[in-house]
């Protein structure tokens, strides 16, 4: 835990008064449980187009919400006026929502027990609060880096975007828990484009740096070498435009962590959310093939596969001290030696399935949204004795090395997926033999993970992630990280996207 503290300006909000007003009123109205969340979400997104300012938006979303369980039914109400009177009104409205909803509720809500944390504080690990850095300094660095890329031969356009977020949350419930948290995250991206006007073709390449739970120091040398990566992109982009089109068929794939994190997210992260397995997301995000009857028996992948859920990972986007139901952050097994052994759950689901304690996966993306079960940092563990990337590639006679994520899609039970990447390299005789174009890989989740025959060592492990994982209705976005090493998958189906387009 960081030695930093939650900003005084947030702590100075009338948190106790709001809590007393809302929870007292909820109890008076007969609620079995009530909680209040006060949240301030600062966001800033700076966009440059060809190294010139396109947009800079500085946003702040400040509000509160009250959630109740009234006669076994959920009720939720949210507003933006931070007064005791409004907190009381929200408690009353949440009860009214529960009363209207009772007409369609047949499963009484019960919450799994959790210890009470009467005075809990968590601040994520970062050095420099990006909201304390002057805008000209931020824009200046982004412009400088963009110009470096734009000045290179063959780079006709550069898109630059940097988003940073400061999330401050206060949570209190009728059991007595009171948590105060502050988290910072950042996502810089640079994309170079080359255009061949004569043929009408164009190609792009984006930086591989993942979004992380760090501060502005991420762009000034801590955790990523931006100048080194930007220096390499123009030549890589030139090579990509001249690369031969891939031959569709079965190929061995060496998947870099910069690509594999997203495959993990889609085919493991979402598939092991218990709300999906129970059908709560059935009409929207979907269900899961990894149903509860298969817990402990489903062969998810090869015996080399070990996956954990983790709300405590350093710099993880989903790392918290306590979730939005007051449950402490934890780490646990999801897949062990290739077998499904765990789910991601919240308190209601934990109780419903007699799982004991929740593992802390409730999250709401704003003060205006109800907490739902969201993803922990779900990560593939490296092989302690696994090879380096070079050594792994050296062991492949013919194959393809996949770097960086691009397009992604998976079906609503998390079987059939199709992914592309930033770069694909042909592997011949254990060496990289130039880039390939028009590549997509398509597989079924258990086939794919079952084909994993080598897992890279700890030195290859990288924490990737996404800032905007979508789920729930109304739609919410959640930040989540996924760590993984490089890995080898045998005999994966490769598509040629030009052929898929019928050209």
């Amino acid at each position: 835990m960081s030695a930093r503290s939650v900003d005084e300006s947030f702590l100075a909000l009338p948190l106790s008064a709001l809590t007393d007003a809302a929870l007292t009123r909820a109890v008076d109205l007969g609620c079995e449980h009530a909680d209040i969340r006060v949240e301030r979400l600062r966001t800033q997104t700076i966009s440059l187009r060809d190294a010139r300012p396109e947009a800079s938006i500085d946003g702040e979303d400040l509000g509160l919400s009250v959630r109740v369980v009234h006669e076994g039914t959920w009720g939720f109400a949210a507003g933006v006026v931070l007064t005791a009177a409004e907190a009381v009104r929200l408690a009353e409205e949440a009860v009214a929502v529960a009363q209207v909803s009772a007409a369609i509720n047949t499963d009484p809500v019960e919450l799994a027990p959790e210890p009470v944390y009467p005075d809990a504080v968590f601040v994520s690990a970062y050095d420099v609060d990006p909201f304390e850095v002057p805008d000209p300094e931020k824009t200046g660095l982004l412009t400088d880096l963009s110009e470096q890329l734009l000045a290179a031969d063959g780079v006709e356009h550069v898109q630059t975007r940097c988003m940073h977020v400061k999330e401050q949350k206060y949570y209190a419930d009728t059991a007595g828990t009171r948590t105060r948290q502050q988290r910072i995250r950042i996502q810089p991206e640079f994309t170079a484009l080359t255009v061949d006007r004569a043929t009408g073709s164009f190609e792009s390449m984006r930086t591989l740096a993942p979004p992380v739970g760090r501060g502005w120091e991420y762009l000034t040398g801590t955790g990523w070498d931006w100048r080194a990566e930007l220096a390499e992109i123009p030549e890589l982009l030139r090579e990509k435009t001249k690369a031969p089109s891939v031959e569709a068929g079965r190929h061995d794939l060496v998947v870099d962590p910069s690509n594999l994190w997203l495959t993990i997210h889609e085919s493991i992260g979402h598939a092991t959310e218990l709300d999906r397995a129970l059908g709560y997301e059935a009409a929207y995000a979907g269900t899961s093939f990894a149903t509860v009857d298969k817990l402990g028996t489903l062969q998810y992948g090869s015996a080399l596969m070990n996956v954990t859920g983790d709300r405590t990972a350093l710099h993880g986007l989903s790392t918290v001290g306590w979730d939005d139901e007051g449950v402490a952050g934890q780490q646990w097994d999801i897949v062990k030696d290739g077998v499904l052994v765990g789910y991601q759950v919240d308190r209601n689901m934990a109780r419903l399935r007699a799982l004991g304690r929740s593992n802390g996966c409730a999250f709401a993306d704003s003060p205006g949204h109800v907490p739902v079960q969201r993803m922990a940092n779900v990560s593939l563990r490296p092989d302690p004795d696994g090879p380096s990337t070079e050594a792994l590639i050296a062991g492949v006679e013919h194959g393809i090395y996949v770097v960086g994520d691009k397009s992604w899609s998976i079906d609503m039970q998390r079987y059939n997926f199709q992914f592309t990447g930033q770069r694909f390299y042909r592997i011949e005789g254990g060496r990289l033999a130039g880039q390939l174009r028009d590549v997509a890989y398509q597989a079924t989740t258990t086939d794919f993970w079952g084909s994993m025959s080598v897992v890279g060592g700890p030195d290859t492990y990288v924490l990737g992630g996404a800032m905007n994982c979508g789920k729930a209705q109304p739609g919410q976005v959640a930040p989540v990280s996924h760590g993984c090493p490089v890995a080898l998958f045998e005999g994966v189906n490769i598509l040629n996207t030009v052929q898929e387009a019928g050209r």
Binding site: A55, P134, R414
Partner: protein, 462 residues
């Protein structure tokens, strides 16, 4: 709930401005929702919010710069304006700088009237009807899943050039998903609505029941190219993606599907063999949307300098030919082309079409009837190749009748290419997009017949 009226907040912000120009807008919003799974409630909510946005414009000598600051609630106006002006002074000259709009567009609402609101009361009749549908589904040994939401947003936009514009935007949707207890059969029905008065739970439930009946017999089909009837919902999800890609600047710079080899864009090129028109119209009955631009951040397809610009009806494709792309005023001036603003609705129509979806189905010897598409993502921007999956009902049509449910598929298709290969369009009707309805609900689309839809692989998901 708040003491300061939104109109007063706008006026206070404009009065506090020391910048060369300012746009201020307030969005008052309220919403209510119900969500259910397996014939029972899962989550719900009632929300109110206020978003206050101030955009300051400052001429730093090298050109006009803009700074946007947005806050919820009732912020300190002086602080907000100062932050916005500082952001503008800190920003470099904006490429999209043009003089602000001064003339109010047609269709402007009553500035002085209070914001429109919705509440959980919108479901007072709906919830018991839904409860009854749950009971009937339970009696058939079926499960219902879904979501209902109603939102109301009132926007008040003012400018230092004298604009005072107001718009009320109601948005509602209902999705009903039916499943067998083993989840092996799954079907969907959905509608968009402005006020829920036109929503019939019984009608949606009947649609679900009919499709569940179709699903009793199941056949497995391999990947391949199939004659396919795309219902309006599936068509809307594909056309919305195409619409989101219609940025003139990207096309002119050679970097989207509407770029022409050799330079320039494809405006004037025939894209569809049929006389299809793809248009947006803020006054389309039942699909009404803001008739003016409200922009919080500039991009290639919208500009903060265009706030308040009229967003009239526009044909993007007319008689099968690409006629317009989305073009902010600054890019329009640079390319001597007309400025066009995106509207928050989309309509595809073949004016010669008369057939209903049922009539198209009856005229199908052998083909697939889809229900919805899902997880649509761009594979290749040059061709606008999209991938995604069928969902909640792929039906085999033989001899003009649905004879079985078929496994799901992953598709790889470009909506631009698809327009060129479509051989029949049916009558246009209001529809709810499945995938994009978080962002886009106001659509009217026809069913389309495509002779060779590319089902790239089988999806085992049901």
């Amino acid at each position: 709930m708040t003491r300061v009226k939104p109109q007063e907040l706008v006026e206070q912000a404009l009065a506090a401005s020391t910048a060369d120009d300012q746009i201020a807008f307030v969005v008052e919003s309220s919403g209510a929702n119900l969500r259910w799974a397996a014939n029972s409630l899962t989550t719900n909510g009632s929300m109110r919010s206020r978003q206050v946005v101030v955009i300051s414009f400052v001429d730093g000598g090298a050109g006009m710069a803009a700074g946007t600051v947005t806050r919820t609630g009732t912020p300190d106006v002086a602080e907000l304006v100062a932050a916005s002006e500082q952001a503008a002074r800190d920003a470099g000259p904006a490429e999209d700088a043009v003089p602000l709009i001064g003339d109010a567009p047609d269709g402007n609402g009553d500035w002085d009237a209070p914001a429109a609101e919705t509440s959980i009361g919108v479901f007072t009749d709906f919830a018991p009807d839904l409860g009854q549908a749950f009971g009937e589904a339970r009696d058939r040994d079926e499960l219902l899943f879904g979501f209902a939401e109603h939102r109301m947003a009132t926007t008040y936009l003012g400018s230092s050039t004298g604009l005072r514009l107001r718009h009320d935007q109601p948005t509602g949707r209902v999705e009903l998903n039916g499943k067998s207890p083993d989840f092996g059969r799954s079907v969907w029905a959905g509608v968009g609505t402005r006020d829920f008065r036109d929503v019939s739970v019984a009608g949606l439930a009947a649609d679900v029941e009919r499709k569940m009946g179709w699903s009793r017999r199941r056949v497995e089909l391999p990947a391949g190219r199939y004659e396919t009837l795309l219902p309006p919902s599936a068509v809307s999800d594909l056309m919305i993606y195409l619409y989101w890609t219609m940025e003139a600047r990207d096309a002119d710079e050679g970097r989207n599907v509407f770029a022409r080899p050799g330079g320039g864009n494809r405006v004037g090129e025939r894209l569809a063999a049929l006389p299809l028109t793809l248009c947006s119209d803020p006054h389309a009955p039942g699909l009404e949307a803001a008739p003016f631009q409200v922009v919080g951040a500039s991009s290639g397809s919208a500009s903060v300098f265009d706030n308040g610009m009229a967003a009239p009806a526009v044909n993007w494709i007319e008689q099968g030919t690409l006629t317009n792309l989305i073009r902010p005023r600054a890019w329009a001036l640079k390319t001597t082309a007309p400025a066009t603003a995106a509207v928050d609705n989309l309509i595809l129509e073949d004016p010669t079409a008369t057939a209903s979806q049922e009539e198209m189905l009856a005229a199908t010897d052998r083909g697939l009837l889809l229900t919805t598409l899902w997880y649509i993502r761009e594979v290749d921007p040059q061709t606008l190749l999209l991938t995604g999956l069928t969902r909640d009902g792929v039906f085999l049509v033989e001899g003009g009748e649905v004879t079985a449910a078929v496994n799901n598929f992953r598709f790889n298709e470009s909506p631009v290419d698809l327009l060129g290969r479509t051989v029949q369009a049916g009558r246009t009707e209001r529809t709810l997009p499945r995938e994009w309805n978080d962002w886009f609900t106001r659509c009217a689309m026809p069913p389309l017949r495509v002779p060779d839809f590319n089902m790239s692989s089988v999806s085992p998901a049901s």
